[in-house]
């Protein structure tokens, strides 16, 4: 018996299960199953059952983090570009560029910095594959 689960549903379920509690990590992962898979979160509030084939890719970002020097919490800053290539059932290539927290904020600011030389901004854009491939727009500083 072969049951096809939509990839978006599998990814959403995976993210939902992972986020049953407030996530404390920015998490990117993938799972492929051929056969029988059953899982339940440790609070036993949700579970999943797969019979057949299922592949999912999930990115989980914490909703908030502690903000140093401030009362309360702030949204987590994260900039992520990822590309997953598969052949058949196995992963053939994965590329990822990510920036989190203050580094992500500073990275975005430096991309817009009009005082830096064009070469420096190109080097920063090169570090993020998706920015390197995207066309430069007005105000991006490139």
């Amino acid at each position: 018996m072969r049951v096809k689960a939509p990839r978006c549903a599998g990814a959403a379920l995976g993210a939902l299960l992972l986020a049953a509690c407030e996530p404390t990590q920015l998490y990117t992962g993938a799972r492929t199953v051929i056969g029988i898979n059953a899982a339940v979160n440790l609070e036993q509030t949700s579970g999943s059952l797969v019979i057949g084939y299922d592949r999912s890719f999930a990115a989980v970002v914490p909703r908030s983090v502690e903000a140093p020097g401030q009362d309360g919490r702030d949204a987590m800053s994260a900039l992520v570009c990822s590309d997953l290539q598969v052949q058949g059932i196995t992963i053939r290539h994965y590329s990822e560029s990510l920036a989190t927290g203050q580094a992500a904020t500073d990275f975005a600011d430096q991309l817009r910095n009009q005082d830096r030389a064009g070469q420096a901004r190109v080097a920063l854009r090169d570090f993020f594959r998706c920015l390197r491939e995207a066309p430069a727009t007005a105000g991006s500083g490139s």
């Binding site: 992963i91 590329s95 990822e96």
Partner: protein, 158 residues
Amino acid sequence: MTPRRAAVAALLAMVLPGCAVDGIGLARAEVVRADGAVVVRAETLGAALRTDPAEAGLAIGVTRTLTVLPDRDGAPAPGRYPFGLALRGIAPAARIRQVIGLDLGFGGRMAGFTLGYSEDAVFAAVPAGASIIRRLELVPDEPGLTFLRSCEEASRCE
């Protein structure tokens, strides 16, 4: 031999050929140096027990694990390790685990099992309050082509 004893003997024959705990035991590993990273490929035939609380579990069958570690002090030296390699205590940059057989998981936030084939990959697990910039290029079939750069400030990533 009674059927019950035959079943136990068959199970032991399946498990005993390979038994590894956290990558050490009747397992084999290979370490390859890449650009900014050290890639560890490990394989176990039989039982593979994982005791790390984040990914605790038991796999019975064929277990193949590819782990990407930052190339810094404490990383294992390149070469072949006929009895496996302990990576406990070294935070990986990425990990891909393939299991053909039965995989029981009871770590992290979820518990469950997989019977058949499973491939679990963790590419990033960054603490919520961390401030890092990282770039990873992972080629599982060609670990020497793996690329890893990690820095805390944008100015150091150029």
